[in-house]
Amino acid sequence: MADLTVPVAGAAPPARRRRKIQFQAIIATIPMIGIAISVFFVAILFTIYWSFTKSGMFPGWVWVGLRQYEILWNTNNWQIAVSNIWFFGAMSLVINLIVGFLLAVFMDQNIRQESLFRSIFLYPFAMSLYVTGLAWQWILDPNLGLQVAVRSWGWTDFQFAPLGDPKQAMIGLILGGTWQGAGVTMAILLAGVRGVDQEIWKAAKIDGIPTWKTYLYIVIPMMRGAIATTLVLQLTGIIRTFDLVVSMTGGGPGIATWMPAMYVINAIQSKLNVGQGSAAATMMLAPIAVLLFIRAIVSWWNKRSAGMNVS
């Protein structure tokens, strides 16, 4: 039922009971109304506002314009955090999608024990990113982990201990992140692949189109929805990246694996610098705002063209 509009008829109105029920709906959703407005609107405005103030340990109201942003972008930690999140984000996204898609395609080949494989690929997602970080930190330990174990098997100059090396530490994070998240991508994409009409497969088979071509040119374009879903899931996860880094590298070695989310929490909790934290947080909001803006435009555009088709 769309918006219930007010009748303007001349009839002598009996009690407007419909309005009463509408009123109950509002009462029932007061928690939502309160939270949506106070948290997802007002609180965000506060953060944005504080990012323009001289707030220190406590929020202050002294306007300093873009000063906090100047400081922020001149801080080494932030610069590294930003370049890290770009690198980590791009690599995770691509690797995750490729691994997830390959797994989905292979899982789709009518294999035995499908549910066993599915369970194995997905169980890491049940574990927290924090636990993931600890597990991989242990495996990648330079003195007790994988590197030493492989050497003891005879491959004596085997080298793989990325977490100790500032230049390679990101690789460890990407590895852990992929391990945790690839299964989900697989599950969503597999559902997408299976959602494609079986008749398409029959038609392609009769036309003699090779399987891989069918996937590439017919199936993938048909699963835009599933791909969009995984992208959204990945992107929101990437921007929030925090637990994994804290547990796996603690931001180190040195500050080699700092992330924007860590910068915010650190500014608020340890440095007691609310202005800086708010400026950094506002910067984190920017890409989301841009994405949502694009989405809004796309859906507006779709609606418009759909409307034109109807008329």
Binding site: L4, P7, A9, R16
Partner: protein
Amino acid sequence: MQTSVSVRDLSLNFGSVKVLENLSLDVGQGEFLVLLGPSGCGKSTLLNCLAGLLDISAGQIFISGKNVTWEEPKDRGIGMVFQSYALYPQMTVERNLSFGLRVARMPAAEIAQRVQRASDILQIGPLLDRKPGQLSGGQRQRVAIGRALVRDVDVFLFDEPLSNLDAKLRAELRVEIKRLHQRLKNTMIYVTHDQIEAMTLADRIAIMRDGIIQQMDDPHTIYNKPVNLFVAGFIGSPPMNFLKGKLEAGSVKIDGTSVSLKGYDFTKSMEGADIVVGVRPEHIAIGEDSRKMPVTMEGDIEIVEPMGSDTIAWTKIGAQPLTFRAAAEIHLVPGQKVAFGFDPARVSVFDAASGVRV
């Protein structure tokens, strides 16, 4: 006849889209009214307005003499049956039937009695303990009707109740609904896009298009005297033949062929105007029978569609196609020449410009 449901100047918009505009309608006590029209013309919307499920934008609605324009659905004295049955999946049939009564806090004894009566009428006694998921489509629709029945109301609203059923069940339940109406004698407003349902069930049919009632009459009048081209084309299968031509001295010139319309009851003079002559395929006689007709012609058979009970065949007058219905015993083959004829008194003539019957 007393009016049971009365709609005055009803308008309804969804945002800026006007679905119903200034619609008025009177339904007599005990009448079976069918709202017929193509999909999307606003039939369900009208029914939902009557039921109080949509707040109307303007106008008034009276049910059993009471102004219910702003009344809650439950206080309007109506029961409603939906196309998708809309049974509560988690409740047994018995609970489904009694839900409304329990909500109204009716005494248990009376609830039991009403459920008993409804299940007797609809013969769903053995199903009372089952869940809707365990019923067939026909059984579900019976239960849905039962849910309206227990409410003991004056007006039943049906929204395409048979559309989800297969052809055979649909025919069975159609008869059953008719029987129910004869037994209960209450007012029924029945929405459908199926003209057979409309013709067989209705006391009166209201044909709708784009939210406007085109014609509201008994089935016989609708079939024989459609008020415009839309109604004429919508009712009847195969559809009425439309022959375009010019009216000249009581005859119509169709692609050079002059056909006399002597006997047609013109309501106004249209001399020289472009008209459309509507001839029902079943009003065309062929072969021997055609000689008895006031108007006779000859043509080549193009396509033959044997239907079992009868045969539909295609021919032409000038360049315009003409279908007719012939008895199954008459053997027709494409290419054959046949004589055919019709009685101008039984055709419909429309003004080509406005589409209105003349």
